[in-house]
Amino acid sequence: MEINRRDFVKLLGGSLIGFAVGGVGDALLKIPGAVVPLLYKGPRIETWKTTTCMKCPGKCGLRIRMIDKFPVQVFGNPLSPLNNGGMCPMGLTSVGSLYHPDRLTSPMKKVNGKFQEISYAEAYGILASALANNKGGNTAFVAQTESAFMADLIGKFMSGLKSEKVSIDNFASNSVASFDRISDGGPDFIDFTACDYIVNFGSQLTEMSESPLYFSRAINDFRSKGHEFASFSPKLTPGTYKANPWVPVMPEYYEDVALALAYVVITDGSYDRAFVQKRFKDFDGFKKLVTEEYSPAAVESRTGVPSVEIVKIARKFANASAPVAYFDESILHSSNGTRNAYAVVALNALKGFGGYGKLKNQVLPDPGNTGKGVDPEQAWNRNKLVGDKDIRLLMVYRSNFVFNSPNSEELKKAIAGIRTVVSFSPFIDETSELADLIIPDHDGLERLDAFSSTVTGSPVVSMQQPVVKPFYSTVHTGDVLVTLIGELKLTKSWPHKDYEDYLQASLKPIYKHGKGMLMNQKKPTGLEKSLHQAGWQMASYSSFDEFWEQLLRFGGWWDPFPQVLKFTPAISLTADRLARQAGSAPVNPAHSANSLRMNIFTRNLDYKGNMLRNAYLTEQFGMGRDVYYAMWIELNPDTARNFSIEDRSRVRIKTSKGSFEATAVYDPSVVPGNIDVPFGLGHTASGKMYGVNPVAYSDEVFDEETGSPSLSQTTVKIG
């Protein structure tokens, strides 16, 4: 890009700065504590606004209770088809971040190792000069967002810069990434109207998934119809309490177990021959591999999973009319994560993916395909940062990957070697503290965005809207990117002036086709259903402006009459993609007389390190164990006794990276030989540090294909 740096800075500075000025809300709010008197002196008028939660991949509709125009409480939107009015601990306390005294209130530049406030002119100047030096490939972008619209925009920005170094951490897209590699995309949803058996591989469906609250209801309904779901996972977490059976297995063995199930289905002859013939490329090679190497007995000897259990579950799977073998992003957290996923995909193929569904004619960005049209190389991940000497500018949007990666030290070194690191984090966290420049993003209650979802079997768009004007001098990162794309002429024609404009254009197809309904009633009435059959649409708006106003007011849109297809992907899974490569046997921490395996588990109080600074969640984190503001581990009493560890005694856990102290809590459901360690504590970036981050003590084991860190392949000693 040939642009004179000074002109460029001027140009960009001018067009970007507008966003900052509008943003400085009531100057009063800059004074700490100023909100309180405002709140309690007002006439105490209560109002409500709808928006969408961005604390996890769930996209729940929210109703914000405002007193004198200030948000005080969060409840669920009963008209959202995703959460149906339900809430989770993270969503319920999400209003806290708006008022948090640690929020960054203006751009910050690092000077001599310390951050200091700077003006927007200076901030954009730094960003502009870094971009002016861009040559394709020396800008990298790491983002965490559940918004397919935001992800798409980042993709457009990066493809305009001719860089493929984009890593977008998005739950839906991570969950179908393995499908994308071997077929033409993943399923959109479990078809609960047909599905009659689920075998789950490690997903915490009701705790941390594409929609924990939708799945909580769906699984209860599923069970109440008399259906069963079996679950393979390394820990009995609340999401598996209702599984029948729960089969403990470590993640690196999902592959073996799934293929052993396939073995039974194939040798019983109970697979869908027509489907595999038509849609499973090299089925014979697959069959040969499975029958030679994955008999239940062989798998039992490798993994310890009883072959009787495998046979029982396999037959239930085979006899079901529309079974699902389920997995999501969590399956990737193992040295062979992607191969695990392939094995489960293959298992599904044997029954023609009977319990899955696909939507026809989706007009929205596919929540599972963040790279649409730009194809950022998904495999360019956090770890590729290490060893890439060409990167001169790293941009980070809302991702705390340093906290989430076991190789944080390496990452820190790599980041230190990058000339300019720009973060859009609203807080100082373990990643943004490494930046040279922070341009803080708005809080969730100050932002505009849209989240699309297909988990329920209907296309849903859940709207996030600014329920208050930005309190501080923060930005919408989307505005910055929209402006950069335009000013740098990164695409041929770019008519958008800001993120709202871009979003409106992205959502226009919904207005145009006129289908579906706003979230203004629970579901269509009987009359509306019959009218719909006669060709009538429910749309309550006559212009786009009206549509947009109502979309925000009601919190979203969905189509109760979706056109649903069977999910029948063509699978191109040659046996060599499944077979273990010589020398890449799963990393299997030795169980010996004096060592144990550390299994890190997640809970619905933290999503990828976001519990930082949430006072309620931090207090509640160890409530179930009566351990507060401190670390604990869970272990089976039998294991504990072998190590002479008493219940609730203090122990020291040693890994190759160091050691930490914790309270040992007996739990007879923990896999013998394991210690289960909760993830969520141990933030070091600022504020007070409670407990430790077990990921920082883990061995550096990653999924070979995607680089997702393994959470359960570290050997520890305990004493």
Binding site: P32, G33, V35, V36, L39, R44, I67, F70, P71, V72, Q73, F75, G76, N83, N84, G85, G86, M87, C88, P89, L92, G96, S97, L98, Y99, H100, P101, T206, E207, P212, L213, S216, R217, N220, L236, P238, G239, Y241, K242, P245, W246, V247, P248, N604, L605, A615, Y616, L617, E619, Q620, M623, G624, D626, Y628, Y629, A630, P668, S669, P672, Y690
Partner: protein
């Protein structure tokens, strides 16, 4: 006069703890200091308990339940209060009169369900917590005993609204916070004296049981066992 009661269906409950959080924020329940929390003084009106484990590994499941004040019809706590700061209302709610409480903690000691909590101290709350207080609920000072009130402030608001609209309180007008947020509708709530109410039906289900019923406390919070 209605008699309010609650039934928690353990077959539906996913142990998500949303009810715990909702109660805490709805009722401005204090976040105590770290030291106090570590000394067993953390304050939750609704708490997730693991009672015991059923079965043997790996066919093992914890018995978990959300536990709040049982709103006993024969409350042992009120009998020992020397100043009548806790009493049984006509509508069945076991209430606390904060200004009257002298902090003797007899009621705490006499509650077989250990649901009452004491403000050992008044810790300065994090700024973002203070700024999001629910203005409908008073903040309790040091030296006061408190517990689940069945979100009695919501009853008051609902009654005032019904009155303003010249009508009687209807089922569904008064919904406690934990009931409202539960993602799987595991908690039913309402008038146990209303023959048509869901909560009455649930409380008479074959799976229904009360905690420590043998003590004669007549808990109006009941549970439904998980289905086999």
């Amino acid at each position: 006069m209605p008699k309010y009661g609650m039934v928690i269906d353990l077959d539906k409950c996913t142990s998500c703890q949303a009810c715990v959080t909702a109660c805490k924020v709805e009722n401005n329940v204090q976040i105590v200091s770290e030291d106090d929390a570590q000394n067993g003084r953390a304050m939750f009106w609704m708490k997730m308990l693991t009672m015991e484990f059923d079965g043997d590994y790996p066919n093992i499941r914890p018995k978990t339940l959300p536990r709040n004040c049982m709103q006993c019809d024969e409350p042992s706590c009120i009998k020992v209060c020397p100043v009548r700061a806790t009493y049984l209302r006509d509508d069945g709610i076991v209430a606390q009169i904060y200004p009257q409480c002298i902090g003797c903690r007899y009621c705490m000691a006499n509650c077989p369900y250990t649901v009452k909590v004491f403000n050992w101290d008044r810790q300065e709350q994090p700024a973002e917590v203070e700024r999001t207080y629910n203005p409908d609920v008073s903040v309790r000072p040091k030296g006061i005993v408190e517990k689940c009130t069945f979100c009695i402030h919501r009853l008051q608001t609902a009654s005032e609204k019904a009155k303003a609209e010249h009508r009687d309180l209807e089922p569904g007008d008064y919904v406690p916070a934990c009931v409202e947020v539960c993602p799987v509708d595991a908690i039913s709530f309402g008038d146990l004296d209303d023959r048509k109410s869901e909560v009455l039906k649930a409380s008479r289900d074959y799976r229904a049981f009360g905690l420590l019923e043998e003590l004669g406390t007549v808990p109006k919070v009941r549970y439904l066992n998980a289905k086999e």
